[in-house]
Symmetry: C2
Subunit: 170 residues, 2 copies
DNA sequence: TGCACTTTTCATTTTTTTTTGAAATTAATG
DNA sequence: CATTAATTTCAAAAAAAAATGAAAAGTGCA
C-alpha cells in the first residue's frame, strides 16, 4: 500500500462520488440506446472519469456486479475499442482505462453491428427480385417501386453511416 | 365477396408468398435494430408489399399473432407515422397501409426516441459540472477535459441526427 | 514443471421485455 | 338508445436477454 502512494503511475485521486454516479447513469443510457446491456454502460461510465486504470476485480466490486458480468462487459468494450489496457509494473492483472475518443467506439459499433445487417439486407433484396411475378404489368410496377425504395435505403445507409462516424471527431 | 371483386379500391392481388416472407424478415431485422419488437417489424413488413389496405384482424390472422399484439404494434407504427389509415366505404373497421417514405419513420423515431435522451443528457452534464471538486488544479483539468468531450458529443449529435433524417429523402 | 492467481466460459437463475387473450372501452348502426 | 362490432387495455404467461458464480482454462512466476 505504501508502494502505491509512491508510485507515480497512481495518482490516488478518487472520482467524486456524485460525478461518478452521473457518469455511470449517462453511459448506461447511451449504451442502452445502442442496444448494449446495462453492465457495459456501467463499466464504461465508471472508467470514463477515472484518472487511474482499474483491474477487473476493482471494477466488479465498485459496481457490485459479478466478475462474470465484468469479464463479459470488458470483452464487449474491448471489441468496441472503448477501453484500453494499461500495463502496471509488478501486477499481473490487466488494468483498464476508458478510451475517451468516442469516434472509435462509434465506428467499431457501426462496423460490428450495423454493416453486417446492411450486407444481409442486400442479399434479401436480391431474393425479393427473384420472387417477383412476371405476368401482370400493373402489379409488377408496384412491387418494383417498393423494391427500388429498399435499394435506395440500403445504399444510402451504406454511404451515410461510415461518413457519419468520420464526422464524429469529438 | 362479389362486391369486393367489383370494387375498384380492391385490386385482389395478393403478395407473392416468397416476397412477403422476405419483406417481413427484412423489416423484423430493421425494426429490431431500432429496438422495436418483432411484431412491429412483422406488421410493417406485411403491409409494405401489400397493394391493398388491411384491417387489424386480417393482419393478426395472416401473421398468426394476437389481436393485442396487432393493436399494440399498429399503435407504435402510427406513432412513428409508418402506417396510414385508409377509408373503406361500407366497412367500419380501420384499414392500414404502409407509409413507404422511410424518412418519416426515421424522423419520428429520432424525435421520439433519441432527442429526449439528448435533452436529459444535457441536464446530466450540468449536474456533473456542479459536482466538480474545486480544490486540486491538476485533477480539475482532467475532469474538465472529459466533460468537454461529453458536451461536444451531445452537441454534435443534436446537430447531426436531424440533418441525417433530412438527408434520407429516399 | 507446478503452483497460485487471473480470466473466461457457460449452465442456471434472475430480470426484463414481449405476447397473449379476456375484460373494458369505444364507436357505429339500426 | 340498445345492440353489436371493433379496438384498446392490462394482468398474467411466455419468451428473450442479462447477470450470476462455480468450474474450466489460461498465464506468469518461482
Amino acid at each position: 500500500m505504501a508502494s502505491k502512494a509512491n508510485n507515480p503511475l497512481h495518482s490516488n485521486y478518487s472520482t467524486p462520488k456524485a460525478l461518478e454516479l452521473e457518469s455511470i447513469d449517462f453511459f448506461v443510457r447511451l449504451m442502452s440506446l445502442l442496444g448494449l446491456p446495462r453492465s457495459v454502460g456501467e463499466i464504461y461510465g465508471l472508467l470514463y472519469f477515472n484518472h487511474d486504470s482499474m483491474c477487473m476485480e476493482q471494477i466488479a466490486s465498485k459496481l457490485a456486479i459479478s466478475i462474470g458480468s465484468a469479464s463479459q462487459g470488458l470483452k464487449t468494450l474491448r471489441s468496441l475499442k472503448a477501453v484500453k489496457t494499461s500495463y502496471v509494473p509488478g501486477d499481473r492483472r490487466d488494468h483498464y482505462l476508458a478510451e475517451s475518443e468516442f469516434r472509435r467506439l462509434f465506428s467499431s459499433f457501426l462496423k460490428d453491428e450495423i454493416l453486417p445487417h446492411l450486407e444481409s439486407a442486400k442479399d434479401r433484396i436480391s431474393r425479393m427480385e427473384e420472387s417477383l411475378p412476371v405476368e401482370n404489368q400493373e402489379q409488377s410496377e408496384f412491387y418494383n417501386i417498393r423494391i427500388e425504395k429498399l435499394k435506395r435505403l440500403t445504399k444510402t445507409s451504406g454511404r451515410l453511416l461510415p461518413a457519419l462516424a468520420g464526422l464524429l471527431r469529438l
